[in-house]
């Protein structure tokens, strides 16, 4: 699964970002019926609203490597995620937060084994909504990080994964 893809791409810092992005696109497509913009559409994405970080979900992990995966979206994308996952209109704030947490959980669960050495076990903790005061760049100051921007037809998500660099291949 993930390891095989990483075996093919191992070595470069960019490959970890590529892996996160690939898993994120698959998660959004499968779970929320959202699709990446085509290359010919990316110029238009510069005008799209960007996440302001006001709502973020985090999934922490430990074991073979430790760190956290943080995702933030625009309000419109957040609403669409919840609505598409459940087939409902006008989801409540609680539902939207839960949906974002589950997306983070899925992306993290699929990504983290690729960051652990020798396929050793990582424990993924339940997702939670980050407090406004939490500055993850400071909290994880001793960790390596990858930041990716995921541009979808419904909006933009930002994902950052912080991880212990020496645990990676």
């Amino acid at each position: 699964m993930v390891m095989n893809k990483l075996e093919q791409k191992k070595g470069t810092k960019a490959s970890y970002a590529d892996l996160v992005k690939e898993i994120a696109f698959k998660t959004f497509e499968t779970t929320c019926y959202m699709f990446p913009l085509g290359e010919w559409e990316l110029d238009d994405s510069e005008d799209m609203e960007k996440p302001d970080g006001s709502i973020r979900a985090i999934v922490e992990f430990d074991g073979a490597t430790d760190g956290g995966l943080v995702i933030s979206t625009t309000p419109h994308l957040l609403e669409s995620i919840a609505a598409n996952m459940l087939g409902i209109e006008a989801p409540s704030r609680e539902v939207k937060e839960g949906a974002l947490g589950e997306i983070a959980n899925i992306i993290c669960g699929n990504t983290v084994p690729g960051f652990a050495h020798n396929n050793e076990i990582c424990y993924i903790r339940p997702p939670r909504i980050a407090r406004e005061s939490e500055n993850f760049d400071e909290i994880y100051i001793d960790k390596a990080s990858e930041h990716v921007e995921v541009i979808l037809d419904e909006g933009i998500a930002h994902i950052t994964i912080y991880y212990k660099a020496e645990a990676t291949r």
């Binding site: 779970t31 459940l86 609680e94 899925i106 993290c108 669960g109 993924i124 903790r125």
Partner: protein, 135 residues
């Protein structure tokens, strides 16, 4: 025959997705109960006779793996079919879990995939008879 089904997942949204998927299946539902962790799931099993359990693995308080292991040691629950639904991607852990359950659905999944897996598990355990056209 209506089926009593237990959904165990710490994420309310995923419980709603699974419940929605169950409603897409064409069998008669009895009690469909939701629990937020493995311990709560085991507590429900003391009061209701379930025909099927759909369980996440990564949960607080008691994980799905711990819940399933406990189920398999109790004569009242050891034969209940369990479908595990998880984003777990570590091959060795997936193999261990797969040996304890009747089916495994990896997240992310399409609801149609979950629906088909539910049918497959319940048909294999002879709990439902799937229409021939869908077999």
């Amino acid at each position: 025959m209506s089926l009593n089904i237990l959904i165990v997942d710490d994420c309310p949204i995923m419980r709603m997705v699974i419940r929605r998927t169950l409603n897409m299946c064409e069998f008669e539902l009895g009690e469909v109960i939701e629990a937020g962790d493995g311990k709560e799931g085991l507590d429900w099993m003391k009061t209701i006779d379930f025909d099927f359990v759909v369980a996440d693995l990564n949960m607080p308080v008691m994980t799905g793996a711990e819940m399933i292991a406990t189920m398999r040691t109790d004569p009242k629950t050891d034969a209940i079919p369990v479908l595990a639904v998880s984003a777990e991607s570590n091959d060795s852990r997936v193999n261990v879990i797969s040996s304890l359950v009747n089916g495994f659905v990896h997240k992310p999944f399409r609801v149609e995939v979950l629906r088909d897996k539910i049918f497959k598990v319940l048909s294999k355990e002879a709990i439902i008879v799937k229409p021939k056209a869908e077999q």
